[in-house]
Symmetry: C2
């Protein structure tokens, strides 16, 4: 029943590594928002409603470090900074598209199902 390390690597490690990259809260939303083209910080802040500037900044730093997002700075006055997806970042989009499809099909009618049911249980 045990697998060799190679088999584990082939089947699981790639999934686990991808999960580690994409699974942080907000990350899929940021990548999804950037799929429509370069965005400025404030635009992302608006479309990722509820995210704090600090968290957004941390996520963008992480995504830039991982080679998913490219940060472009334009020497204008005031300086303009835009974020866009790299090729690696664009390669995440099929995952996010499948996540959206799943969410619409299976989660849309039960948005509270993912929350703890303490309130209901206490009745």
């Amino acid at each position: 029943m045990k697998r060799t390390m190679n088999e584990v690597h082939d089947s699981s490690c790639a999934v686990a590594a991808t999960a580690e990259l994409i699974a942080t809260k907000w990350t899929p939303l940021i990548v999804h928002d950037l799929s429509e083209g370069p965005r400025r910080f404030m635009e992302l802040e608006h479309s990722c409603r509820g995210i704090s500037p600090r968290t957004l900044s941390e996520r963008l730093d992480m995504l830039e470090q991982q080679g998913v997002v490219l940060r472009r700075s334009y020497p204008e006055s005031p300086p303009r900074v835009e974020y866009e997806l790299t090729e690696k970042g664009k390669a995440l989009l099929p995952i996010i598209r499948e996540m959206r499809r799943f969410g619409h099909r299976w989660l849309e009618d039960e948005p509270v199902a993912l929350k703890p049911r303490r309130a209901a249980a206490a009745r």
Copy 2:
């Protein structure tokens, strides 16, 4: 620049809800392992190498509560319990397949890139 709640719901909530479901550590691996058919607890423990029995148990409970996994108990001696994917669970497989594809293409040659680089920075 602001979106209406409906637009946010359409584009982001489905992705966010799916991320919340699938993004927990080990969850994609468990779902992936169950894609090959029903599995017993010990089989999952072996294939999810490194998971603690407690964590595996918690994940299976969560996945059962979310309608992703079905727990079947057979009245044998000793009792046999098997876990299998529901239709909803099988619908997660395209996401995991895309995650695996991405991981093989973009992460396989840089498995340490997702770890903090403190050791390197301290040199």
